[in-house]
């Protein structure tokens, strides 16, 4: 039962038919594609003799395989070039808009769709990428799909789906200064577990959520999937509408007013019924860092790596594997753990506000000797906006590399990767074994500000200590809407 929730309202609006298998055929309002999970779908479509049903409802970009040092064509890696060329050919053949390298609109698919105004409240959004949950920040129902389903959406603009239950995650209070949406979501996953959300959509609500910027809401919803929830969402409000207004794909004129009225009506009703509810207090959350090999293995920066005795018996085998892989000692403080590589970017934390938060830490400081630190903006628009306010110069002066947009070392499908047993402080979303490109490489997940602090000190440190001794000169500012070329 989830009557009166945004999830139910959007589900009902998009129902096409009930299928014999017991699932529902759901219309997909926005389909996003990229070079990794689409080529086989287009090939399958050709094999079936089908065409793309609503080419104007699919939008493409290239993100996973793009290099961040030089994006000159042909790309240096022939496999990457083949994937990009295949995407270009498929988009051309089927009349799909592709925001390619150098267009001014290229970037990580979950960064560009919101900034272009493509993602809107009340839509169903699907993409062959699990972090599609990001788009739930707008009050959309957005979820990742596999390649067979990409084929299905191309062929029919719809999917066979089973309805989820809805868990409301109510967050009271306000996040402390120096604590970010990333810390909040790592904390939620730590408490509810990486499989706690299986079978659920997560509705994030409460005063702390309403106080988050749209970019912070995207960070939060982005990692719903790391908690097992296929989608997460925030009810649309004035902040959502302000973000959207004036963006290229957003409605305008009289349609804008009608849109806002409709969007408002979609928010969960005051008397909405939830299948489950959990509560958190934002004020009690500290900067959070993972110590293990799943995003649920996180602790506050001032805590110690849990000992087996401190864990539930069923968590102990995985913890044992994590101690060995990470080479971290149970009972040891996580603060002070030396790092080798610092990565700021990804669909979780590669937006302008993330770069501002990291730059506020880097400003006037230097990356510690021996540390490789780099910043990868989430999109060409983010890069342009950051450069317009001089963030690239702040990072460069501090010894960070300033790179070109893409997914980069979040999953290391491009040349950016860890080597050997290197350990990274990373603003990305997954600390799985081997995730960052080395089979024995290690990842500590944290907020972009915490990554910047680790780069400066050379080890895991509470960013609040740095911020206290050196008040940030880059204050939180309203989100920019950079002019498009």
């Amino acid at each position: 039962m989830s009557a009166g929730t945004l999830y139910d309202k959007v589900w009902d609006l998009h129902r096409v038919a009930e299928l014999p298998g017991g699932s529902t055929q759901l219309f997909i309002g926005l389909h996003l594609i990229h070079e990794v999970t689409s080529p086989q779908a287009f090939a399958a479509l050709r094999d079936l003799g089908l065409s793309v049903r609503y080419p104007e409802r699919t939008v493409a970009t290239v993100d996973h395989i793009v290099p961040t040092t030089s994006q000159v064509r042909p790309l240096a890696d022939p496999l990457a070039e083949e994937m990009l060329a295949t995407l270009e050919a498929n988009c051309r053949q089927h009349g799909i808009t592709l925001h390619g390298i150098g267009s001014g609109r290229q970037g990580i698919v979950h960064v560009i769709a919101p900034e272009l105004g493509l993602t809107q409240p009340g839509m169903t959004v699907a993409c062959g990428d699990s972090h599609t949950s990001t788009h739930g920040a707008f009050g959309a129902i957005a979820f990742g799909i596999g390649t067979s389903q990409v084929r299905d959406v191309l062929a029919s603009q719809s999917l066979a789906m089973a309805k989820l239950k809805v868990r409301r995650i109510w967050v009271d209070g306000r996040l402390q200064s120096g604590v970010f949406a990333k810390d909040l979501v790592l904390h939620i996953i730590r408490i509810l577990g990486v499989k706690g959300g299986v079978g659920y959509a997560y509705e994030f609500a409460g005063p702390a959520i309403e106080a988050l910027s749209m970019e912070e809401r995207m960070t939060l919803c982005n990692m719903a999937i790391e908690g097992g929830a296929r989608c997460g969402y925030v009810n649309p409000d004035a902040l959502t509408f302000d973000y959207l207004q004036g963006r290229p794909a957003a409605p305008s004129g009289e349609a804008w007013d009608r849109a806002v009225a409709w969007w408002r009506s979609l928010a969960s009703d005051p008397g909405a019924v939830f299948d489950d509810e959990v509560r958190f207090d934002a004020a009690a959350i500290a900067p959070t860092v993972t110590w293990g090999i799943t995003p649920g293995q996180g602790i506050a920066v001032d805590e110690t790596v849990p000992t087996p005795e401190e864990l539930d018996p069923d968590e102990r085998p995985l913890a044992g594997e994590a101690y060995r892989y990470m080479d971290l000692r149970p009972g040891a403080p996580i603060a002070g753990t030396p790092v080798d590589v610092c990565f700021i970017g990804s669909c979780t934390n590669g937006r302008l506000s993330d770069l501002r938060a990291a730059a506020a830490v880097a400003e006037g400081r230097r990356v510690a000797p021996g540390i490789r630190a780099f910043v990868v903006p989430g999109s060409e628009q983010v890069a342009a906006a950051a450069e317009a306010e001089g963030l690239d110069a702040v990072f460069r002066r501090a010894g960070f590399e300033w790179r070109l947009p893409g997914c980069s070392m979040c999953l290391a499908m491009n040349p950016d990767r860890l080597e050997g047993r290197q350990i990274s402080a990373s603003s990305s979303n997954r600390n799985f074994k081997g995730r960052q490109g080395s089979a024995s490489g290690r990842t500590l997940l944290m907020s972009p500000a915490m990554v910047a602090a680790a780069a400066i000190t050379g080890h895991v440190v509470d960013v609040r200590a740095l911020l206290a001794e050196h008040p940030p000169t880059v204050e939180r500012q309203p989100p920019l809407t950079p002019a498009l070329p």
Binding site: L13, R15, V16, A17, L19, P20, G21, G22, S23, Q25, F27, V36, T37, Q40, A43, L50, R53, Y54, D77, E82, M83, G122, M123, D129, S130, T132, G144, I145, G146, T147, S148, Q149, D152, A155, S156, Q157, S158, A160, A162, V194, K195, V198, G199, I225, G228, R230, P251, A255, R258, W262, T294, L318, L411, A412, M413, R430, F432, K433, G434, A439
Partner: protein
């Protein structure tokens, strides 16, 4: 790697040897590391299955042990297939030769990806999964019958007799596998009139009127 034909048509049962793979939260990055995703077809994915885990264990990984060569029923623990939505993960398992997966629980996207390929993911109680993994380890040559009609996994041991464990699968996916309608594109395409009706009532496709 596998010469067994890929799944087609109704899937009521599968018979094959078991492959126990203990461990919780085994993610799709481990099943198929990202570097193997640099491809435009799924054809060659079998070589990448568990590539990093296997190299770490230098021949001692279940997918490398000689006694499990040719096995086709993977037996896993909880939250198997979590993480990335990459269909490359079930594709790699399938092309290696896996035809059914039995486990405590599965990540949702992974489960759906498997279903779309005709690869049944059946759940069983944790104690039963452990018992099944141990039974396979003790007698890796024994055949398993994965029976979607009877909803059971049966270990067929010529000497020690058979041993049976109950398994679960939601009625919808079960019907889809039994009827052969697990690959649903045709069904979706068939409802074009209903699709058009739904689209014509969506405010954001109609000027928010």
């Amino acid at each position: 790697m596998s010469t067994v034909p890929l799944p087609a048509g109704p899937i009521a049962a599968h018979r094959g040897r078991g492959l126990p793979l203990p461990g919780a939260d085994i993610d799709t990055d481990r099943i198929i590391p990202a570097r193997f995703l640099k491809c435009v077809t799924f054809d060659d994915l079998a070589t990448g299955v568990f590539a990093d885990d296997r190299s770490e264990r230098a021949g001692d990984h279940p997918f490398d042990r000689p006694e499990h060569r040719g096995a086709s029923v993977l037996v896993v623990n909880s939250n198997f297939g979590c993480g990335s939505s990459r269909e490359h993960a079930p594709q790699a398992l399938m092309r290696w030769g896996i035809r059914a997966v039995v486990g405590e629980s599965f990540a949702e996207i992974f489960f759906g990806n498997c279903l779309a390929l005709g690869l049944p993911c059946l759940t069983a109680d944790p104690a039963d999964v452990t018992e099944l993994q141990e039974a396979i380890a003790a007698d890796p040559g024994a055949e398993l019958l994965v029976d979607l009609e009877a909803m059971a996994v049966v270990l067929e041991r010529p000497s020690a007799g058979e041993k049976r464990w109950p398994v679960r699968l939601e009625p919808g996916p079960r019907r889809m596998l039994l009827s052969g309608q697990w690959d649903g594109t045709a069904q979706l395409v068939a409802h074009d009139a209903e699709l058009t009706a739904t689209a014509s009532a969506l405010p954001y496709l109609n000027g928010f009127r």
